[in-house]
């Protein structure tokens, strides 16, 4: 059965679940995966996002998401004003990607402590999203699960070390993929879990040898605003 709260929902700021709610979630996902407070962003819009994006508030929604707003946050309408207030720099342009979903955005993000992230993601309908690329590495996850993104050096034992910690924490892995640029370079693990991961457990993971960084998207926190 299709989830009845996908039928009556999401609760969202209009006008379009794919072009507005999904866009806000893409911005939010990029903010979380950066693992730093974003200070500037270059946002490239592809396909229908470029074509009808401004009419659907896609641009505001992405900026709002980058500022930490959720799809149901009434402030999304004023995201540009909010960005100005807190000194967040952003720019938009159009991009033509090959073989990308029509509702795709590429976000190049820089954080306060100098962290950088390039994320390509698309909005697939009903407010759902899919992340397609992280820093040039092909990935494939949706934020429907709690999601760990672990960057590691491509050495043997890294994957086993991470999964054994998860096992000790009694966190069940729902889906997992391991991706890399080239042999011996930087690699990426995307781990979707059933249970949520606690901050102290994230610290454990990031201190493992060979692990460069750990970022974590919690599906419950990613879903809706805590308040108005």
């Amino acid at each position: 059965m299709v989830d009845i709260f996908d039928i009556l929902g999401p609760i969202m700021v209009g006008p379009s679940s794919s072009h507005t709610a999904g866009a806000a979630r893409i911005g939010n996902m990029a903010r979380i995966l950066l693992g730093d407070k974003p200070v500037s962003a270059k946002i490239h819009l592809h396909g229908s996002f470029a074509e009808t994006g401004s009419g659907h508030g896609t641009d505001r929604a992405i900026v709002g998401g980058l500022l930490g707003m959720h799809p149901d946050d009434l402030q999304l309408t004023y995201a540009f004003e909010e960005a100005k207030k807190c000194g967040f720099q952003y720019s938009f342009d159009e991009i033509n990607l090959r073989d990308a979903h029509p509702n795709t955005a590429v976000i190049v993000l820089t954080g306060e402590k100098g962290k950088k992230l390039t994320m390509q993601a698309c909005s697939v309908g009903g407010g759902r999203i899919m992340v397609n690329k992280l820093d040039g590495i092909d990935v494939n996850f949706t934020g429907d699960y709690n999601t760990l993104v672990v960057r590691n050096r491509d050495e043997n034992g890294s994957v086993a070390a991470v999964t054994s910690i998860l096992n000790q924490c009694r966190i069940n892995v729902a889906n997992m993929s391991v991706c890399r640029h080239k042999r011996g370079g930087d690699a990426l693990m995307v781990i979707e879990t059933d249970e949520s991961v606690k901050p102290i457990q994230l610290d454990f993971l990031s201190e493992l040898p060979g692990i460069l960084s750990v970022t974590y998207y919690d599906k419950n926190k990613g879903e809706a605003s805590d308040d108005d």
């Binding site: 009845i4 209009g14 006008p15 229908s48 009419g55 999304l76």
Partner: protein
């Protein structure tokens, strides 16, 4: 037991001796592994969001495109004057449908039901009943029951036929919303499962073939006013079903037919803005104006 068709729901109602809404509630509890209270609390949040959107509507916000804004308030005031052709409940339904769909276009907070573009239909038929005691004395529990009925119907249609304009045209969005609203109304009046099915079938049949042709690709024209036909169509389908009128084609077959029509709709009529009103001379002019506005900005 999975629910993949309206017949599955009827069978479960008979086997468990439970009303339509409770079968859907139990399915949600099983599906998401939540308690009865948790499920109903979530549904209450949905209802509250619908009510908030209606209560805070002022009609003062307009779209940058200049196409949408203020019509819901015009209709509310016209309905209040009491000379509407439709009159009473139906003119309030029209006003609520416009207000909600307009709120969506103007970046206010709404509940997608089943989509953002069709968000006005279901609340439009329920809100007047909860707001004005002259139509019906309703308590909150009854409203939640109606929402479960609506969501169960939407879930079946989403599974069997699809609910996205990009894949099935407007009939899949406004049509589904209308079917959900029709079923909800029948349930509110104590209709049987079969009567809910008949209302769903009639609502869908009467909007079958409706294309998705948004001017400039925006959820504005004709989307806002299509919410009105979805809502009014739901009221008439519900009344027919409650009068004992049956759909000659069984409801599951109607849903399948809607799905088939959607799949065979040319791509021009599936949200691409390549056909219908979107390519009318005025539609194209509006698109051009928006593009030049965008370039200036």
């Amino acid at each position: 037991m999975t629910i993949d068709s309206m017949q599955d729901i009827f069978n479960l109602m008979a086997a468990r001796k439970k009303p339509f809404w409770e079968v859907i509630l139990e399915a949600d509890m099983e599906e998401r592994q939540v308690t009865r209270e948790e499920s109903m609390a979530k549904m209450l949040v949905v209802w509250q969001a619908m009510k908030d959107a209606s209560d805070t509507y002022t009609g003062t916000r307009h779209r940058v495109s200049g196409l949408v804004g203020g019509d819901g308030m015009k209709m509310r005031q016209y309905a209040k004057r009491g000379h509407a052709m439709s009159g009473g409940y139906v003119s309030d339904v029209i006003a609520e449908a416009l207000s909600m769909a307009e709120s969506n276009a103007c970046m206010r907070r709404i509940v997608a039901a089943p989509t953002a573009g069709a968000c006005g239909v279901l609340p439009a038929v329920l809100l007047p009943l909860s707001k004005y005691a002259e139509y019906e004395e309703l308590n909150q529990h009854q409203i939640l029951e109606a929402l479960y009925v609506a969501s169960g119907i939407g879930s079946v249609i989403a599974y069997k036929a699809g609910i996205a304009g990009a894949s099935g045209g407007c009939q899949a969005e406004i049509g589904t919303a209308s079917a959900m609203a029709a079923g909800a109304l029948v349930a509110l009046r104590g209709g049987s499962g079969k009567q809910i099915g008949d209302a769903v079938a009639m609502a869908l049949k009467n909007l079958m073939g409706l294309i998705c042709d948004p001017v400039a690709g925006l959820v504005e024209v004709p989307c806002v006013k299509r919410n009105v036909i979805g809502a009014v169509n739901a009221v008439s389908a519900a009344d027919m079903a409650l009068a004992g009128i049956k759909s000659r084609i069984p409801v599951d077959e109607v849903i399948d037919a809607m799905g088939e029509v959607g799949r065979r709709l040319p791509v021009e009529f599936r949200e691409t803005a390549w056909g219908g009103l979107a390519v009318s001379p005025t539609g194209l002019k509006i698109k051009e104006n928006l593009h030049s506005k965008k370039k200036q900005a």
